[in-house]
């Protein structure tokens, strides 16, 4: 589903690259944690998958497409197959829960009929039934992140990218969010999640790829992250 082959990304030509000769492959339906301190290149990986950046060297294939060779007008179509969740939720404050999720469908031209069935379905999946008319400021952090996840997966993408999705949440709420993400993964969606949260990584027992200074230092299934690892 996602393949990086010897990928190097330098944001400026003289400095050290943000990602240096990184290779990995995630199969369809796999769950992969990306761990490592700040500046280790986790977010760069996410941005490269989203094709917000193109690699300086190396080759990235997402859902069978060589992203660097893709013409820019095709990029939106690549992104329709990828859901993305961030630490800061990124909801629209002037739209209610339903409209925030529906927004993602409106802008890709889905019909009103499709929207009226897809949105309640996905809100149920993330456990927000009955809160459709609430506005983001009326929701807790965990609920806001559920809305963001609902928006990311409402179009049933093959890939879910999560960049520190529990970074702003307390441990109990974080676990709820992980349960939601796990449920989405169980439907067959490939999940690539960057995180610092050792307790989550250790509890889940999934594949862990650790980056340090843009280089992969570890890739193992059932991996761990040392508690109190530096951010």
């Amino acid at each position: 589903m996602i393949t990086f082959e010897q990928v190097t990304k330098s944001y400026d030509q003289r400095g050290t690259p943000a990602l240096d000769g990184f290779s990995f492959s995630a199969e369809a339906g796999e769950f992969v944690f990306l761990v490592g301190p700040s500046g280790s290149g986790k977010s760069t990986v996410i941005r490269l998958v989203l094709r917000e950046e193109v690699p300086t060297r190396g080759r990235i294939t997402v859902a069978g497409t060589h992203t660097a060779r893709m013409p820019s007008w095709k990029v939106p179509y690549l992104r329709r197959g990828i859901g993305t969740v961030f630490q800061d939720f990124r909801l629209l404050p002037n739209k209610n829960v339903f409209d925030n999720v529906a927004f993602a469908l409106h802008v890709i031209g889905k019909s009103r009929a499709a929207i009226s069935t897809l949105v309640p379905d996905v809100l149920e999946t993330v456990g927000l039934e009955g809160k459709q008319r609430r506005y983001p400021h009326e929701l807790s952090g965990g609920e806001q992140q559920r809305v963001a996840i609902a928006r990311a997966v409402v179009n049933k993408p093959g890939i879910l990218l999560a960049d520190e999705p529990t970074g702003n949440l307390d441990p109990a709420t974080s676990q709820d969010i992980m349960d939601v993400i796990t449920r989405i993964n169980s439907f067959g969606t490939t999940v690539l999640m960057a995180t610092h949260d050792a307790s989550i990584v250790n509890r889940m027992g999934k594949r862990v790829i650790e980056l340090a200074g843009g280089v992969m230092v570890r890739d193992e299934v059932g991996g761990y992250l040392q508690e109190g690892a530096k951010r």
């Binding site: 820019s72 939106p76 992104r79 990828i82 629209l92 409106h106 802008v107 019909s111």
Partner: protein
């Protein structure tokens, strides 16, 4: 792409940026008004040229009974003098310059006078026997007027040779200067409008960067993301164009048709029909200007 969703995005953008949008409307309105005024002035000149240049260009006025001109010492031009003048006009000497000649007798001159001043205080003030006979000469090249004037300067029976175009050319010169001034102001104002539209679109894109960021993330196409911004500018500019058309229409209706026309009888001035012809053009100029400037702005400031 869903039209209703697109339009709701456009109107929410218009609402959020209302003060800037109003300034875009006003600046395009004023700039397009000058464009329209220039166009109307040129239509006026064109209309007058069509009307007058088709008509006789040089009038060879014959001596009336009481003329004091030295060539009229024998009193009113005699039939013999007329025959000589007509022969001279048709002679090989002038064949290269003269295209056509016809005689205008008093009755025709009177009728034309009555037509020209119909409905004004001058109508009926000059009896037919006071009208002057003339030969109306069409020239091959209107600029060669001097040759005719020279040729008949000492011909008995000719009181005066008048180049009617010369009088008109003065007027045309004034109108052309007015056009140049209007175009100059219009160009400056249009530059202001373009810069203002670009700034407005940038600001609008900035205030909505959260929405556009999410749109990009969920795979909205560039066209879908950018179209609302372009349409905002285009709608504002089109409204400015429409306003300029309305104000020009009012100006022409009250100023030209209502005030100037009665004072310039015999000259056909621009009317509301001409404004109706110009207005769609003004709106189109506004739309194209706004569309191009906002599309260029977005290409620079809103990358995928």
């Amino acid at each position: 792409m869903k039209f209703s969703f697109l339009m709701s995005e456009v109107f929410s953008g218009l609402r959020r940026n209302i003060s800037l949008i109003v300034s875009v409307v006003l600046v395009t309105f004023v700039s397009l008004m000058f464009v329209g005024a220039a166009a109307l002035l040129q239509m006026q000149i064109g209309g007058m040229k069509d009307y007058w240049y088709d008509k006789v260009q040089v009038a060879v006025f014959l001596c009336p009974a009481d003329s004091e001109a030295p060539t009229c010492s024998e009193g009113e031009a005699s039939d013999e003098q007329k025959a000589q003048i007509e022969a001279a006009l048709n002679s090989p000497d002038l064949a290269d310059y003269v295209e056509e000649v016809h005689f205008e007798d008093r009755a025709t001159a009177h009728r034309l006078f009555q037509e020209q001043f119909e409905g004004t205080s001058l109508e009926g003030t000059v009896p037919e026997d006071q009208m002057q006979e003339s030969y109306r000469v069409g020239l091959v090249d209107a600029e060669q007027y001097g040759i005719i004037k020279e040729y008949f300067s000492a011909t008995p029976g000719v009181e005066e040779v008048v180049d009617q175009n010369r009088l008109l050319d003065q007027l045309f010169r004034v109108l052309n200067i007015a056009t140049a001034v209007a175009v100059g102001i219009a160009v400056i104002m249009l530059v202001c409008a373009v810069v203002l539209i670009a700034t407005t679109i940038r600001l609008s894109a900035f205030t909505r960067r959260r929405e556009t960021g999410i749109m990009r993330l969920v795979g909205a196409s560039n066209l879908f993301i950018q179209l609302p911004f372009v349409l905002e500018g285009v709608l504002a500019a089109a409204l400015g164009g429409l306003l300029s058309g309305i104000v020009l229409g009012a100006g022409v209706h009250f100023g030209v048709t209502g005030w100037l026309q009665p004072r310039m009888a015999g000259v056909s001035l621009v009317g509301l029909g001409d404004v109706a012809l110009v207005t769609p053009g003004l709106i189109l100029v506004g739309i194209v200007m706004a569309g191009v400037s906002s599309a260029l702005t977005l290409r620079r400031y809103m990358k995928v």
